[in-house]
Amino acid sequence: MNRNVEYMLLGLAAAWLIMFLYVVLITLRERKLRKELDRVRRMVEHPNK
């Protein structure tokens, strides 16, 4: 396995980087949604606060 190894590794790195970035993105989105859901639930349960 000698010829073009660098570009092969670049290709694999690109694939995993895209996947990793998407996982980070949906993790952050999940955190934001849960926080917002808690906030709105509290507003419904205690409307005067």
Partner: protein
């Protein structure tokens, strides 16, 4: 229950991928003409297959929404389409890196590549449209129309290597009458497809749950405004 399914799928997909990577990097020889770079096919082809299947599934779910007006179809369509776009991105990126070595350029305005890029842009627009429209039913209706148009383009892209003379290689999988690879080299493509399909299923499950959260937030906000 959903958490257990996600963990089970992740463990299965991780183990399958590790075993398959071991086969690809240690057992398989370099391709005679391309050298090591041909191994990109083990990600490029499964990623593009998942992208195309995801766009197709998203379109069917969008049609489901249009016929029933049930927003759960729309939520599922949005989730599947977003994950499909991630895999289409992987397909485009890995294809471009392969082309740099084999064709000597990062990109060629070939029918297959261009139609797939247009498809990627249409579904990128689909996600932007969903963010731009507030009213859920209107958003679902507009998104469904874009999904149908995008999937027609995806099908054209899929068939383009048969319909036109393209720089992009002809089918290599025996499933598609390609038969250009030795069986030992072809099998890991299917195993990688299975492993990546499991990852795709996990991502879709997480996204569907997020869509449910978003719907609940929307309903609760309306209740707060009505109080």
């Amino acid at each position: 229950m959903r958490e257990k399914i996600i963990i089970g799928l992740a463990l299965f997909a991780g183990a399958l991928l590790a075993w398959n990577m071991n086969t690809i990097f240690t057992a398989l020889p370099d391709e005679l003409n391309q050298g090591a770079i041909y191994r990109i096919i083990y990600f490029h082809v499964p990623a593009n297959i998942l992208g195309m299947l995801g766009f197709g599934a998203g379109m069917l779910l969008s049609v489901g929404y249009l016929t029933t007006k049930d927003l759960r179809y729309d939520a599922l369509a949005a989730s599947v389409t977003e994950v499909a776009l991630v895999f289409a991105s992987i397909g485009l990126a890995t294809g471009s890196i392969w082309a740099r070595i084999i064709w000597g350029v990062w990109w060629a305005w070939d029918v297959r590549l261009t139609s797939w890029l247009v498809c990627w842009l249409i579904f990128g627009g689909y996600l932007m449209l969903r963010r731009a429209v507030e009213e859920p039913n209107q958003r679902a209706r507009f998104a469904a129309v874009v999904s149908v148009l995008g999937t027609v383009n995806a099908y054209i892209s899929y068939k383009s290597i048969e319909w036109w003379n393209t720089q992009h290689p002809q089918p290599v999988l025996s499933l598609r009458n390609g038969g250009g690879m030795a069986p030992g080299m072809e099998a890991p493509i299917y195993w990688n497809l299975l492993a990546l399909a499991c990852f795709a299923a996990i991502l879709v499950m997480v996204r569907v749950r997020q869509e449910a959260f978003a719907r609940e937030i929307d309903t609760l906000r309306r209740m707060v405004h009505a109080q």
